[in-house]
Symmetry: C2
Subunit: 336 residues, 2 copies
């Protein structure tokens, strides 16, 4: 009953509760053919087709191995455009700052944002600053919205996915969530895990423009790879079989997951993408991805099936099969 009456942390997890909230309380009110697609970026039907996306970042702590909230806010929105097959071009930046934030921290975050934007040749076109009194927000929250130009001939859409299509992952999983978690707990123990926080435009946009057989892309952030695969299965109305041994993962991540007692499949990534493509072009895609530093560990990890509709089945390394559910609540709040 409680969960029906109040918003819970899990409603922001990106998992099942988020999906339920969006479907019951948001789409019923805001719904329109563009929003209803629930793609990472909306496609705006101008004379040039544009992608449009938004994301708020509330990560704590504001700095972690491999990045900070500024880099994350720019890369995250660039990635939402890139997985829609759009070249990121313009960002907006909305800052909500807690009174008393040291200038040095503010400047570090702004520098990170400027550097990340420059690297992807994205212009920050517009912005807004709000300051709230001490205690009314935690350090700093950043919203970035983005506009980009579609490079694909056909819109990427889960509705184009067919049985037999290949599922490709661009690299190793679970590094971002673990890097944030380790820095949050103030562990002196250095896990040696760095967030994968990075902009994927240079990896994905040229590929999306070139290879028509790519049908859908998504970056597995909150809720991890498992949640993204679920979203794909449900949007396509098909099943997914994933081979555990083919999922790229480092031994450090494996060890850290055991230490914390969490499952890597549900841990957030911030520099990876899942691609669904015609089986016939999957080899070409993987070869192309591996030539890029952010795609060195790219691999086909599974396949779309006509059976087990809306389900994700994991063929485990030990030869068993199990159903992978969408993340329910929130094991690691505020990792992005």
């Amino acid at each position: 009953m409680q969960s029906k009456q109040r918003i819970l942390l899990g409603h922001g997890s990106g998992g099942r509760l988020t999906h339920d909230l969006i479907r019951t309380a948001i789409l019923s009110k805001f719904g329109n053919p563009i929003l209803d697609k629930l793609t990472d970026s909306a496609v705006l039907p101008y004379r040039e087709k544009l992608a449009f996306t938004t994301d708020s970042f509330v990560v704590t702590p504001w700095k972690f191995p491999g990045g900070d909230i500024g880099k994350l806010a720019v890369c995250g929105t660039i990635n939402d455009l890139a997985v829609q097959g759009a070249r990121p071009e313009y960002l907006s930046v909305g800052l909500i700052i807690e009174e008393g934030l040291p200038y040095a921290v503010f400047n570090t975050i702004i520098d990170s944002m400027a550097q990340a934007a420059r690297k992807s040749n994205v212009a920050i076109a517009t912005g807004d600053i709000k300051v709230v009194e001490k205690g009314a927000c935690d350090t700093i929250f950043i919203n970035t919205s983005g506009v980009g130009r579609l490079v694909t001939r056909r819109d990427l859409s889960a509705q184009r996915i067919k049985p037999g299509d290949a599922i490709i992952l661009t690299g190793t999983i679970a590094e971002h969530g673990l890097a944030v978690l380790a820095s949050r707990r103030g562990l002196d123990l250095d896990l040696g895990i760095t967030s994968d926080c990075q902009a994927l435009d240079s990896l994905l946009v040229p590929l999306a423009g070139k290879i028509g057989g790519i049908k859908f892309m998504r970056d597995p952030t909150r809720g991890g790879l498992a949640t993204t695969l679920h979203e794909i299965a449900e949007s396509a109305g098909l099943g997914i079989i994933v081979e555990e041994r083919k999922i790229p993962i480092t031994s450090k991540v494996r060890a850290a997951c055991e230490l914390f007692g969490i499952e890597a499949l549900f841990v957030a990534n911030e520099g990876k993408a899942v691609l669904v493509a015609d089986k016939g072009v999957s080899g070409t895609i993987v070869r192309n991805l591996r030539r890029h530093p952010f795609g060195r560990h790219a691999a086909v990890i599974g396949t779309i099936t006509s059976g087990a509709k809306n389900h994700v089945i994991l063929h485990t390394s030990v030869g068993t099969q199990r159903l992978i559910d969408m993340m329910d609540a929130e094991p690691l709040p505020r990792i992005c």
Copy 2:
């Protein structure tokens, strides 16, 4: 020294400190020809020229006479597009919610947003939900970004303003800030002041498309009319003379300002615009504005001068003259 080392509430006031922060710490890092204009919306050079804007809303309390944070978030971004001479078309919505927010409040806010968007025929195209733990934010913060199509033949720009141009205000001032303030203090005393929170697209966009003599528009929100006039004077590198007795203001607002000891010129509006236009078309503009329910009290309130560069001079009702400065710090934090 303190103010150099930490972000203060005043840095979010929209006044002098905000301007200083943007110029010293933001534009030096993010600067580019589009952002540097510091217009309410950026103009994106696509084949159809698009306006792009963002705003975060942190108003407290979340509900006030005449509106709530949801209505404000939709109308505020619509207004930033409208004052750029753009027809608002697509919004993004980024929600940051404090864990434990009652569903009833959430639904009320979503309903307000949906209703405001529908009224202006704007589609919510994309969105994001974050939930933070209790105490990590105050109730709910909303970012809306917006995209619209320019209807003007020439871009509205303060650089087009010339001495002799007329300054037009679309209606009475200071209602939003006072309505929020009164509801915040929990006064039983009913001031009878309702926020002017409303979307100005139907008032401004047809006019901007029709009358070429309109050179610049801005909605006087944080920092009030005084701050907006200052921004105009400084952007144009010219002076402004304003006639106090021509500024529309209700007797209730006058009384409330005396009660609270604040100056109406510095109090936020959320449903008004300042227009700068050729003197020759100012009569036509005022007549057009007055035909619309949101422009009934429109009036020419002042003029652009070549003297007193970068300054705003008020000709008071009692016959004296005084310099009106930009708001320095923040008398009323979190009114939007």
